[in-house]
Symmetry: C2
Subunit: 391 residues, 2 copies
Amino acid sequence: MKTIRQEFSVPFSYSVEFTENLFDPSNKLFAETVNPEHSGLKPNVLFVFDSGMYSCHPGLMNDITRYSNENNGSFSLVPEPVIIPGGERAKNDPGHVELIIDAIESADLDRHSYVAVIGGGAVTDTAGYAAAIAHRGIRLIRIPTTVLAQNDAAVGVKNGVNAYGKKNFLGTFTPPVAVLNDFSFLNTLSDRQWRAGISEAVKVALIKDRAFFEELEKNADALKLRDKDAMQSLIYRCAELHLEHISNSGDPFERGSSRPLDFGHWVAHKLEQLTDYRLLHGEAVAIGIVLDTIYSQLKGLISEEDCTRVIDLFRNCGFSLYVPELESNLEDPSDKQSVLHGLQEFREHLGGELTIMLLDRIGRGVEVHEVDLPLYRKAIDMLRSSEKELV
Amino acid sequence: MKTIRQEFSVPFSYSVEFTENLFDPSNKLFAETVNPEHSGLKPNVLFVFDSGMYSCHPGLMNDITRYSNENNGSFSLVPEPVIIPGGERAKNDPGHVELIIDAIESADLDRHSYVAVIGGGAVTDTAGYAAAIAHRGIRLIRIPTTVLAQNDAAVGVKNGVNAYGKKNFLGTFTPPVAVLNDFSFLNTLSDRQWRAGISEAVKVALIKDRAFFEELEKNADALKLRDKDAMQSLIYRCAELHLEHISNSGDPFERGSSRPLDFGHWVAHKLEQLTDYRLLHGEAVAIGIVLDTIYSQLKGLISEEDCTRVIDLFRNCGFSLYVPELESNLEDPSDKQSVLHGLQEFREHLGGELTIMLLDRIGRGVEVHEVDLPLYRKAIDMLRSSEKELV
């Protein structure tokens, strides 16, 4: 009997919006997003809050309730939000996904209902995963509240939680219905959170956009001093570059072995785990980028001068670029305590050939399929020495 | 700041193959499927078995091991298969998904590795779900072993498990890499399993293909007597119609409110639950189809003569078309013990407007958005009377 060949394409589309004071009753963005046709069938909306965000905005659920009342007819609010811890803890405890799924079930949400998640990237990842698997997909609105979530983690197509000590071991590729970036949430971020999100912008500038890198160099002081305009401009361009990559890469759901947007991330993921998530994701990414940049220079790719510019940019923004975990069990890449074991874990997540992004020059990445471990050890050594000189 | 609009399409393709003796070393289909390019990087393959199937084929793992050895170089076999119970029990216990995820993790499977699941539709659904969420998607090969799985459950794009007493509450839309229909597994099916799968063929014939319905009428005796050719022809055409619908519907991932392939299924899902899964899915679907057909006739859609043909076809194939659970709490559609509560549960799964498929005539369905409950009670009454006359 003849083979039956099944072929079809599924179109995905969503908007990334930029606003302030999203739940001011006069701001119609949220109401228009959940009910663009002003349908009389009001969709149910369940909110998921990041507890860190919520502690800085204790009046938020009242604001949302007032917003819902004053935009009467656009949606039906589930009265109780689900509250889960912010940061990587959100993704480490399977109980958080269960909490959200329980609430989806209790509220009788269906595929035309919404989960609206407000928080950092770990919380948007967790809620996105829960929404993706309930009824094979509840509609998701991400309202990211950190720099890193607004410019990277919450604008893309992935969700996930950690399991077996492995980052994002469980998850799906499920685009959201919309991303609503509300800049007013940035005001209450700690200095560490404010800064940490800058590293994803440096990353994408380094591999894709030299002019953006130069803008970041120019704005480094302003960014450090929490200048809002500089940060909004950074977030916009960084989000735009990430989104362009996803739609233009030809592989939005990562079936191949290449993950260019994960420049610096094999080190970063491993360091987050080795430091028991003491490092914020963006802080670990900064170290990962710098290490892969020094390695690129040792491999004869990027120039020494450009390498120094990368390190200086991070320092000018206030990053620390060394943690002692970089050197634990460095001699044995098969040891899970060694940062070099991160190479294997990175390959394993996608499978296929090891594929690491390095820098050819500022603004252009280059993929390689093998690494020189002694040279990585040298790069770590150089990084430690140069950071010690600073102190 | 200007909205960033994200748009892209994701192409999906897979083959549905028909074969016998898949793990005979001379049959190259499986080896070609997991490693079409004869790559030296042998992909890992983890098998998941339906315990019901495995008890009928106790030598299967040995056969697979021999197959793997004799097709040396095409894949790397994970030595221990995961074995989970067949039937709806597979989907009711969250422990089964965990077992499979544990095995995926232990075997270090990645996105270029395969989960190959051999069993009935409930087991292919459970393993498909586990594979879909691990690393955001391990490649899945379905090797369905029942009529119902070969012609319907395992050829499409869905997976899922039950939760909160709700059918398929957790799941994703994730197409497989391939479906390998091995007819030799049908020989060991019980008569009930053999028969149950026929109802999905009747379903798709009724809503889409009058000529296929007439072929089923002609073959009813042969099907009842377990004629292999008649059954292979039924499976092929039924799978083909399901696949055509998925690729031509314009909504393969069911974002709208319409589920034409779920003709008869609102009753079926509810009856499976009310009978505590004593009914096989296909047995419940037969009752659901007949009930919606009688209702269609009472609504003045399908003719009385055609309605009788539908009932006769099921009877000629050996189906029983009545269970006492049809009449429990029939007066109160808001009671979860009432089969009429199934309407609400059916709507809830997709959300949006209630959309039920009825029959305009044999070969053509018609969607309606409201139902006449007293008329459904009358249809149930008629079904009971007509079945009692038979005894």
